[in-house]
Symmetry: C2
Subunit: 313 residues, 2 copies
Amino acid sequence: MATQDSTGSSLGPEFTQQVIDSMGPNTPPRLREIMSSFIRHMHGFARDVQLTSDEWLLGVNMINWAGQMSNEKRNEGQLMCDVIGLESLVDDITYTVATKSTSGLTASAILGPFYREDHPIRENGTTISFDMPKDAQVAYMHGVVTDAKTGKPLANAEIDIWQASTNGKAGGSLRTIRWREPTKTDWRIGLYEQQDPNQQDLNLRGKFITDSEGRYSLYCLRPTPYPIPEDGPAGKMLRMMDRHFYRPAHIHLLVRCKGYKQLITQIFDKDCKYLSNDTVFAVKDELTVEFKPRKDDPQASFDLEYNISLGGA
Amino acid sequence: MATQDSTGSSLGPEFTQQVIDSMGPNTPPRLREIMSSFIRHMHGFARDVQLTSDEWLLGVNMINWAGQMSNEKRNEGQLMCDVIGLESLVDDITYTVATKSTSGLTASAILGPFYREDHPIRENGTTISFDMPKDAQVAYMHGVVTDAKTGKPLANAEIDIWQASTNGKAGGSLRTIRWREPTKTDWRIGLYEQQDPNQQDLNLRGKFITDSEGRYSLYCLRPTPYPIPEDGPAGKMLRMMDRHFYRPAHIHLLVRCKGYKQLITQIFDKDCKYLSNDTVFAVKDELTVEFKPRKDDPQASFDLEYNISLGGA
């Protein structure tokens, strides 16, 4: 219960404090800290823009819609956070800030909503591409995993890799899932296997284990720009904000090694579009890589060397 | 792309500005204002508490869960906002602030997630209770709708009323939907008809039209405290925050009259529990009402007079 203040509003800062103070004595301290700040910021947001009930209900409907679209193959709530940079920010807080005392570490980037936990382990030197697009550009990707402090190679590190295919336009799936019509300059766009009935299960996904000298190797596709799904609330948000849907060409990596901090990251083709305006804001300078011409390999026309440095857990 | 700042984080305030600046020139000005503030507050929240990826993913999962539970009978996204006071705040901004120039107006309160748009029109003096709980306390509710400025009675105003039943414990539905076990002092708790298979469709709901002298009247239940659903993420949030689930005894009203601003409000029994700690923060002093004893009416043991003043649209 509250009294009116001079603006005619009865729900001023003391109202926000009342909501915060409703938390009971058994609230875990970290949760209390998080919820107190969340409540203050949500109330502050509503007051700053004088949010109306109708506008708020539009937001509620988008949240409910996000949940209704989400399933084991897609996470729309996550995607909504991604397009306002929130996943990149919490990744930065969790990884970059947490490891600031270690120099030379490979930088992190967001996990994204298309990771699967059940990627198979594959042999070094084998491919992850089992439904080769007609115009695919294949790259031989290889490198060494090392300890960021000592430079020592790490054996038995697990490099978990996933990427979108590079020619979504060829299949019928684009129209089926109401994908954005690609522009002329971006006609080679991709889909992840779980979005695309024309790709086999687990296509372009696999785990590789480093050998005794810390080395891993595989064949993958040289990636192309990828539009995030636009048939849900994240897509609606982007359209309302007059933004494009594209991510620069990238490959996802999740690297684990016993005794080291898990690394989630992405690498970006330095020559591709959207490096400066990734729609989910995940690009960091130090994560751009160069695809060099590769000779005398019938399986690949590009070579990508990518070395990884891990920090202690 | 960004460079590292002194804290080891690469994503400082300029990152937030980059996300805001990604909005294109065709973004509607009001949406730009809302999204800019929302992005600033969400990033500010993440930075203030140094939110980790795992903590953020818990939040994403709750958002997706809310959507998955929501349907035509329940709005869990709305309920999550309610328990942090957000619907009350935007209602206050939309109605109280918007009408501050008019004195004598009936105060507003939140719509809540159990409103239905298809309430039938009923005759004045009839009841809205068609599945009477064994221990029901019936009230005769009546009043006049007037113009807040002139005091003139308003004919043909529509009073749309809905309330929870008062004895949810008697049915088997409580256990079915995993309701919170009521405490001994609160054993008479209620359910809305869409939550309760033992109530007929549209029980305790109806619209009444004022007569030529602005009068309306009906029989309803004297309400009892009501626990919000605890089987979804809103309930989980409350449990995590060590809070109770209860709303004080209340009746919902939505009042419409041609030429006047629509009023959404609730009235609260001044003698009930939880008036000072409503779990959705909707109580205002001026919305408490007194149920007086009623004599010589075999249909009702309580009398509730409630007059309503509307402001011009």
